[in-house]
């Protein structure tokens, strides 16, 4: 190797190396570093909000879902992380005396439809199959990003279901139903692929507690508006609109959530106290045995909001400013190539009349050979 000669020589280094054979190493040594404290393990939040009933008299179910959607958006979860499924359109329904509004309270105090609603699955797209596909991720490749649940192993997911239900099932669109076994299996498949870190499941239907009886995957917390054998009741009708506006449980849930702001420290024990029997007539239930953290240490904003973990960037890389190079047009396509493109290949068809002539020829040959008397059998 040639030593490079420099004009000023302040030090020179000469190293003579002797090559030794190759060795291999297999290591296993544990090093401890300083501990850092993270209160919860999630880095992003998702919400799947489903309303399963159609028809005008089920206005309250759409209002339920939209009020949870509104709270979740207000507390910070962006639309790209919310999958909203509404089985029917109440705001623009022909029977709505106040079009483009969905109210949650009589006297029309709160319009939960707002002006910034993004519905991902609407009308007849809300089916059991689509719901399970969203949860498990088994969507056809052509599904756009807004219709997918792109959660990872550090996502906290809020799932809210409302509609008409019974003991062990929830009715979709008045024509099919999802059973609690299917739901539990779907959550297990989500856990197998680590599609959630923690999951909060809220259901507001009749006999809602039966839907979370069969869960067996870890890190699930469930709330229901009524126990098995009880009916979930609606709140109050509005005489101008003509239907019941909201269900009791979600009405008091909305009232509770309106007091929560992104920096709030309210925890799940407060959520369990929402809508006691005196207000709700049915007995709300909850299930926390599959959840690893203590519910008192779980903040409401862990599921309903989207509080990001943030770290200050301490390291930077020193980059030298890059000198401007003149734009080179080398990469552009020559004009000739742009203009003279190859003509599109058209399929070749035989010229017109050719087929007619061919068949005439065949018929003539036939009758020449076998005699004209067969003609009457043809026509």
């Amino acid at each position: 190797s040639n030593p490079p000669v420099a004009p000023e020589i302040s030090s020179s280094v000469a190293l003579d190396f002797v090559l030794i054979g190759r060795t291999s190493a297999f290591l296993l040594l544990h090093q401890a570093r300083a501990e850092r404290f993270f209160r919860s393990d999630h880095t992003n939040n998702w919400a799947v909000l489903v309303c399963t009933s159609r028809f005008w008299f089920n206005y309250r179910h759409v209002a339920n879902t939209l009020s949870v959607y509104r709270s979740v958006k207000r507390l910070g979860i962006p639309d790209s992380h919310i999958v909203l499924m509404l089985a029917d359109d109440m705001a623009c329904n022909h029977r709505n005396p106040k079009p483009a509004t969905v109210f949650s309270h009589k006297n029309m105090e709160l319009n939960v439809y707002g002006d910034d609603v993004e519905v991902d699955y609407r009308g007849y797209e809300v089916t059991v199959e689509n719901f399970l596909r969203v949860l498990t991720g088994r969507l056809p490749p052509s599904t756009p990003r807004s219709k997918r649940l792109l959660s990872d192993d550090h996502s906290n997911i809020l799932i809210y279901l409302t509609g008409h239900g019974g003991n062990g099932f929830l009715k979709f669109q008045d024509s099919e139903e999802i059973s609690n076994v299917e739901l539990a299996d779907a959550f297990e498949q989500m856990w197998q692929k680590r599609r959630y870190n923690e999951l909060l499941f809220i259901i507001d239907t009749c006999q809602g507690a039966s839907m979370y009886e069969r869960f067996y995957s870890p890190n699930l917390m469930a709330l229901a508006s009524s126990q098995v054998g009880e009916d979930s009741l609606s709140h109050q009708p509005d005489l101008a609109i003509g239907v019941h506006l909201m269900d009791r449980y979600t009405f008091y849930l909305l009232e509770f959530l309106e007091d929560i702001h992104p920096a709030s420290q309210a925890n799940m024990n407060d959520l369990f106290k929402v809508c006691p029997k005196s207000q709700c007539v049915s007995t709300p239930g909850h299930r926390t045995d599959l959840f690893q953290r203590d519910p008192g240490s779980v903040l409401i904003t862990d599921f309903f909001g989207s509080v990001r973990k943030v770290e200050i960037t301490m390291e930077t890389i020193n980059l030298t400013p890059h000198t401007e190079t003149a734009l080179a047009y080398v990469d552009q396509l020559p004009v000739a190539q742009i203009i003279h493109q190859k003509p599109k290949q058209k399929d070749w068809h035989p010229p017109d009349g050719f087929i007619l002539g061919l068949w005439t020829l065949i018929l003539l040959v036939f009758f020449r050979t076998y005699g004209i008397k067969h003609l009457k059998h043809i026509f």
Partner: protein
């Protein structure tokens, strides 16, 4: 009547025989779900998978480290290197660069050069120098061990070499961090959990978006030459990461985009400040306006450059100890980073608005590059005492840092792919009425083959091939697990099955059974009569 009776009997028996012999198998076959064969034995082998990682290490002794007797025992091939360098600090870099050109290093291997204790190459208190490309210089006093053979020399070097390899290749903590979601909770430390939370999980592709937020276009007319800056600073890193994933980069400018937090004015610093706890609420209002590529499901990294409006300039970020942050930037795990760029120094009070401002892209990209490295999985390695780690510089990442990432990615891919396959097999076992198409079976088979190949390559020490196989394995296993056809038949409870079959089969089966019973009783009676006649 006996003729018609026998004819009737034989007809009934024939019908019953037809129903049982042909009908039941036909019904069974036509209502069975098509399940292609899965290699169940190989899949169950995967559950007990043992990973062995092998690093190829080449040890090169310099003159003066070995005594002449030891030198004679060593397979010798001499390489002479001599250089004269301008100043002592540059010597190391030049020496490292020249040494790199001397020996060929493949992906995943490490070359350690042992230099004598008295060498002037390293500063006095430093024992190890790790260069930019898989080489390390280790200062040791092996020559003082007189009369020892080669194995003893190597054994004496072992602890130091192990420390070098743990910094350059992988250690127990990295491996457990790569496996965090597959391990029982409690096995991984809090720190490795923090690292695994920050970096994105292994994915076939990533989307990177650079956004310039200008809340005050009336006063600031910003120019940023982002294409040239990306070409110069970001694309080299992404090209190096091509074996790991595909990247798609885009950029945008957002006008009238404000941060969601009101900064407080601090008179002592005469600047507006954002404290560390308010930073968490900055991201959400902005994210709604960022947008993303609707066609792909890849994870998105967002890098935002925020230029504060003239009323709130300058804006500085304070950390927990109320000190200024040099970079004036912060990042959020698995999301991206935000940098605040103050332009109040570029103009005075009486200039005509809007002011043309050109953004210094090298400073901006320096911050974004370091944030990008964190998001992609290059950890902030704390160098052990006595180590000098060469900074990555313009290329963005050193070869050994990339190797480190490749090791942990390969392990993560292998673990995720094997977990997917085993859980898919378990799922298909449990739910008997899911149709398994041929393409799923094919994907599973190819995933299993690729997994076994990846494990074999990891054992042999070929990191590049191992990564390729592990990527194949994970993409095949994800495609198999998330195939849309695996949802075809939903759950049928047993009572519903009975409710469907009974009205169909019962009216048909009752006459057959009754006639068979009748025939049986007649035959018995006939036999009893025959016996009575005989007696």
């Amino acid at each position: 009547t006996t003729v018609t009776g026998t004819r009737g009997r034989s007809a009934a028996v024939a019908i019953a025989a037809l129903v049982i012999a042909a009908g039941i198998p036909l019904w069974w076959k036509t209502t069975e779900t098509y399940r292609a064969w899965l290699p169940a034995a190989r899949i169950s082998e995967l559950e007990a998978l043992q990973l062995e990682l092998r690093v190829e290490v080449e040890v090169v002794f310099a003159r003066g480290t070995l005594s002449p007797e030891q030198q004679k025992k060593v397979p010798a091939s001499r390489i002479t290197y001599e250089s004269c360098c301008k100043s002592k600090s540059l010597c190391l870099v030049e020496a490292d660069h020249a040494l790199h050109t001397l020996t060929e290093t493949s992906c995943g291997s490490v070359v350690i050069y042992i230099i004598p204790e008295a060498s002037a190459l390293l500063p006095q208190d430093m024992r190890v120098y790790v260069g930019r490309s898989r080489t390390a210089l280790l200062r040791s006093q092996v020559a003082s061990v007189v009369g020892a053979g080669l194995p003893e020399v190597l054994a004496a070097l072992d602890p130091q070499m192990e420390q070098v390899l743990q910094t350059m290749s992988f250690n127990h903590q990295d491996v457990t961090a790569a496996l965090t979601d597959r391990l029982r909770p409690g096995l991984s430390t809090r720190d490795s959990l923090a690292d695994s939370m920050r970096a994105f999980k292994s994915s076939p592709g990533y989307e990177i978006t650079f956004s310039l937020l200008n809340p005050d276009p009336k006063h600031h007319q910003l120019h940023w030459d982002v294409e040239a800056a990306l070409d110069a600073y970001i694309y080299p890193l992404l090209h190096k990461m091509a074996p790991v994933a595909n990247f798609s980069v885009d950029s945008q400018i957002l006008y009238y985009a404000v941060l969601g937090v009101n900064p407080r004015y601090d008179a002592s610093a005469s600047a507006y400040t954002l404290s560390a706890d308010s930073l968490a609420h900055v991201i959400n209002p902005v994210e709604a306006r960022l947008g993303s590529n609707a066609a792909s499901s890849n994870p998105v990294l967002n890098f935002l450059l925020y230029v504060p409006d003239s009323l709130h300039s300058p804006l500085i970020i304070r950390n927990d100890q109320k000190q200024e942050v040099a970079s004036n930037a912060f990042h959020s795990p698995r999301w991206g980073g935000i940098m605040v760029y103050n332009v109040d120094g570029a103009y005075g009070n009486d200039t005509q608005f809007p002011v043309d401002i050109a953004i210094d892209m090298s400073r901006v990209m320096g911050v974004f590059l370091s944030q990008l490295r964190l998001m992609l999985g290059f950890q902030q390695t704390g160098a052990p005492p006595g180590f000098v780690l060469e900074a990555a510089g313009r290329e963005g990442v050193a070869e050994w840092e990339l190797d480190r990432l490749l090791w942990s990615r390969s392990v993560e891919n292998v673990a995720t792919a094997s977990a997917s396959i085993t859980s898919l097999a378990q799922l298909l076992d449990q739910i008997a009425n899911i149709v398994i198409n041929d393409n799923i079976a094919q994907q599973v088979a190819s995933a299993v083959t690729a997994l076994q190949a990846a494990v074999a390559e990891l054992e042999a020490g070929n990191l590049a091939l191992a990564l390729e196989h592990s990527r194949e394995a994970i993409s095949a296993s994800e495609r198999a697990f998330f195939d849309p056809s695996l949802l075809h038949l939903l759950y049928f409870p047993d009572d519903q099955k009975f409710a469907i079959y009974i009205p169909l089969f019962l009216p048909m089966c009752v006459p057959i059974l009754l006639s068979l019973l009748k025939i049986f009783r007649e035959v018995q009676q006939h036999r009893a009569e025959k016996r009575a006649k005989r007696d």
